[in-house]
């Protein structure tokens, strides 16, 4: 039954009332991101009436204890602050369900509980299952949801699943997981979350490209020389993160999902419409068009991996990666990776896309820089000693979200001196109001059935195919040896090998 009063009230698909079941409800993600996101939606009046939240986890605790834990963290991290009155209403929506992930009876009890909630709500039985548990339980959760019949859409109501990363650890495991997911939920009801896509500036990439007529005519190999995507983190393995990270590494943890998603947004063709599949059809074509580095030689030529050694970050001395807590002292896991990617399409022929991601770099920054070809070497550019740098368009994803354009200008004076200057747009100074957190937008989209900002099965698998070739090149070079692991001092911008990767093309990393 449609709600006529929702019409036109907000300019996007309408989220519908549902019960959100979070698997892994005692984890950090639930406490720091998911519950504060739902609470902030409630504060903004965006959460549909009738939403219920059930935390599903193994630990034995009461509703009250669970709520108290959520409240404590919400006070700390909520974007809009913490209002006791609204929290009071909000926490009444939250319940705790104790069960092992492998316990069939726990899911049967969950089904009964959901039915009771639906009856109380007047029969509306929309369900949103959020799998935020450790990845090894994904299969169990999905299979038991199916056995309990919780995956079925009934009486015009829907049943959807959101799956957190990591979505597999390689192509084979991703395919297996996709099989399990799709045996349980239809692809249209599956939402693979990549929180980078919920960030305001990531969403703005398409707006920048397709709502401004000046960029698209230049957005090709004729005018663009190279594209760089950088994700720099100054943190290392604080908070016991080394255990997880050592099994994953920079390539699988960040490049396979977030950074390839950004690349696809930059390189995609204009979609025919803004429907979820319209956009995702174009994004997957980009990933599919990535030239495969499918031999150890090609990997060595186009990919650099490295680990940080002891150094200084933000004035503090830090240990090297292999000395970090919960990290194997002989670890061959990369904390830094730099790739040269080629998108073999008509539009991008010959344009390198460089991606770099690293821990313990000098600062935290994620940005995309589009480097235009320099103007012809005549007139001003013919003057000896003058700059031949081209224009650079920078899209800053985080922090200090914004866009800047570097151009060349005459320095005031009687002589002709040219210097690069920067036109800058900062979200924070132009729009005083803070942007919603990525999870707020994404949760609302899932309730509204809009999958545009979620990864589709083929996107995930194509990305893994690309990553798997690199992993194989590193770990299985044919002679039983691994390809070399470079090293760089913590607090520097990465190994020399990464600089050399660009120098071969006559390029250099943008200074951040």
């Amino acid at each position: 039954m449609s709600n006529p009063f929702r019409e036109d009230l907000v300019s996007r698909s309408r989220p519908e009332a549902c019960t959100v079941v979070i698997f892994g409800a005692t984890g950090d993600l639930t406490h720091r991101k998911l519950i504060p996101a739902l609470y902030n939606l409630a504060i903004d009046g965006e959460l549909p009436t009738g939403v219920k939240i059930i935390g599903f986890a193994r630990r034995d605790k009461s509703d009250e204890v669970f709520r108290d834990g959520l409240k404590e963290l919400n006070r700390e991290v909520s974007r809009n602050g913490h209002d006791e009155e609204i929290w009071g209403d909000f926490e009444n929506m939250v319940e705790y369900h104790q069960s092992e992930f492998q316990d069939a009876d726990g899911y049967r009890r969950l089904a009964e509980r959901l039915d009771a909630i639906d009856a109380e709500r007047g029969g509306k039985g929309n369900r949103l299952f959020y799998i935020a548990s450790a990845p090894e339980y994904f299969d169990d959760v999905l299979e038991h949801l199916k056995s309990a019949g919780l995956n079925e859409s009934r009486d015009g109501c829907w049943s959807r699943v959101i799956v957190e990363k990591p979505f597999g650890v390689d192509l084979a495991s991703a395919r297996h997981l996709n099989e399990v997911v799709n045996q349980t939920f239809e692809e249209k009801d599956t939402y693979r979350i990549d929180h980078y896509l919920g960030k305001e500036t990531a969403q703005n990439i398409m707006v920048l490209r397709f709502a401004n007529a000046i960029f698209e005519p230049l957005w090709n190999s004729r005018y663009i020389k190279q594209v760089q995507i950088t994700c720099a983190e100054h943190l290392g393995m604080e908070g016991g993160r080394g255990g997880y990270y050592d099994k994953s590494g920079a390539l699988r943890d960040m490049v396979q999902n977030h950074l390839l998603q950004l690349l696809s947004l930059v390189a995609m063709e204009p979609p025919t419409d803004l429907s979820a599949d319209g956009v995702r059809d174009e994004k997957v074509k980009v990933i599919r068009s990535l030239r495969q580095w499918d031999s150890p030689e090609l990997v060595e030529e186009n990919v650099v991996r490295a680990q940080y050694s002891a150094g200084h970050v933000h004035g503090k001395s830090v240990v090297g990666y292999r000395e970090e807590d919960r990290v194997d002292p002989e670890s061959m896991t990369e904390t830094y990776v730099a790739l040269r990617c080629m998108v073999d399409t008509w539009r991008w022929s010959g344009v390198p896309f460089y991606i770099r991601m690293g821990k313990r770099l000098p600062k935290k920054a994620t940005e995309i820089s589009v480097h235009f070809r320099p103007a012809p070497n005549v007139l001003f550019n013919a003057t000896p000693g003058e700059t031949d740098e081209g224009n650079v368009l920078v899209i800053r994803i985080q922090p200090d979200e914004g866009i800047s354009l570097r151009m060349v200008s005459k320095i005031p004076g009687t002589t002709l001196r040219l210097e690069p200057v920067k036109m800058d747009f900062h979200y924070s100074t132009s729009f005083g109001k803070g942007s919603p957190e990525a999870y707020e937008r994404l949760l609302l989209d899932a309730m509204a059935g809009d999958a545009t900002l979620f990864a589709r099965r083929d996107e995930v698998e194509e990305a893994w195919r690309f990553i798997d070739h690199i992993q194989r090149g590193w770990h299985d070079s044919g002679e039983g040896d691994e390809l070399s692991m470079a090293e760089f001092v913590a607090g520097s911008w990465g190994p020399e090998e990464a600089d050399a990767l660009l120098e071969k093309d006559g390029n250099s990393w943008r200074r951040l």
Binding site: R6, D8, L9, I86, D89, E120, T429, G432
Partner: protein
């Protein structure tokens, strides 16, 4: 201008408007403001003009702009017109409102205040609008009753026209002029009386997400809106929105207008009759309540005077929803800031307008 003439044309609290500068030197003096401090960033996304014919409003509006610029970078033009003085004159002041963003960078917005007397043809174009920042949209907030200055040559230049119909005496006549401008040039109107209803509308919509509530809509018998008398147009707009979204038609003329509100009757799509009323409550909240009753069912969104939340309730046999939600600000500066954040072309307001005007005329008939 001699000393006595100057005194006569000075606005109240002119010292709060910044530095007085000759009109011809406004832009140069503004540049000088920035030259003294490199650490500040000058930002603007819109031109925001605030127009008033009430003496003393220039200083008050400067305070409003200070609040608005916390969230909305703009070039602000304050225009005060003293209609009691016939002699044509213009005086101007400049200042900047600076705020720390995230505790770090100081971001400033320029403000130019004009005090006008007398009537001079084309003065908006050649004196005031000459100081708009090029390419940025013009949001024009007209405070108080519309005067002869509200004419086509003015409203053709405006991208968003902000009013607060709660200020108006003769709402029918004033809205008649606004509606004519909408029809003539497609003026985008943002009535703060409408903005004031935002969270009430959101709350009602949210309650009807509930399946039991949604099913009850078809059997609605009555709708009651309670407002403080000054906010009568907000009450009518809320009622008009409800009727429009529910697909109801006006059933007959005003049943009653006893000076404490008005009663109306609508016909639903299914042919049922709904009694509706807008009731004034002395000393109450600007909008105190909307209550919708069906057989055995009551949906209510209410607010106490000074309350920081709206109370959302849906009560039927064996099924109760009882929640609290956000409320619209009682301060105009914050209402305008909220409205600017939402942006858009106000299509829902335009959709509601014919029903609202019909209720207004209903009363007037």
């Amino acid at each position: 201008m001699n000393r006595s003439e100057e005194m006569m044309t000075a606005p109240e609290n002119a010292e709060l408007l910044g530095v007085e500068v000759p009109v011809a030197k406004i832009e140069r003096k503004l540049r000088e403001l920035w030259e003294v401090d490199d650490a500040r960033a000058n930002a603007s996304l819109i031109n925001l003009a605030l127009y008033s014919e009430e003496n003393g409003d220039l200083a008050r509006n400067s305070e409003i702009v200070r609040e608005i610029t916390r969230e909305h970078a703009c070039r602000a033009l304050l225009i005060g017109r003293d209609v009691s003085v016939e002699k044509v004159s213009v005086r101007s002041w400049i200042t900047a409102h600076c705020h720390l963003v995230h505790g770090k960078k100081s971001v400033c917005c320029e403000q130019i205040a004009f005090h006008l007397t007398g009537t001079s043809r084309g003065r908006f174009r050649n004196t005031i609008f000459a100081h708009l920042q090029s390419d940025l949209p013009l949001v024009f907030w007209w405070q108080g009753n519309l005067s002869g200055m509200f004419n086509e040559s003015l409203y053709r230049r405006i991208d968003r026209f902000v009013i607060d119909s709660s200020d108006w005496g003769d709402v029918v006549a004033q809205y008649g002029r606004v509606n004519a401008a909408i029809e003539e040039v497609g003026l985008v109107v943002q009535d703060l009386a409408w903005t004031r209803t935002y969270h009430f509308r959101l709350a009602v919509a949210s309650l009807y997400d509930d399946l039991v509530a949604a099913r009850s809509l078809v059997g609605t018998r009555s709708v009651k809106v309670v407002v403080s008398e000054q906010y009568r147009t907000s009450g009518l707009l809320l009622l008009a929105w409800f009727a429009e979204m529910a697909g109801w038609e006006r059933a007959q003329d005003l049943i009653e207008d006893d000076g404490h509100g008005g009663s109306y009757r609508f016909e639903t799509r299914e042919g049922g009759l709904v009694d509706a009323s807008v009731v004034f409550e002395e000393g109450g909240a600007p909008i105190g309540m909307i209550e919708v009753e069906s057989v055995g069912v009551c949906l209510r969104v209410s607010r106490e005077v000074g309350g920081k939340h709206l109370h959302h309730q849906f009560i039927s046999e064996g099924h109760v929803v009882d929640l609290h939600g956000p409320v619209d600000s009682d301060f105009r500066a914050e209402l305008l800031a909220d409205q600017l954040s939402r942006g858009g072309k106000n299509s829902l307001f335009k959709r509601t307008l014919p029903t609202f005007l019909s209720l207004l005329h209903w009363e007037g008939s």
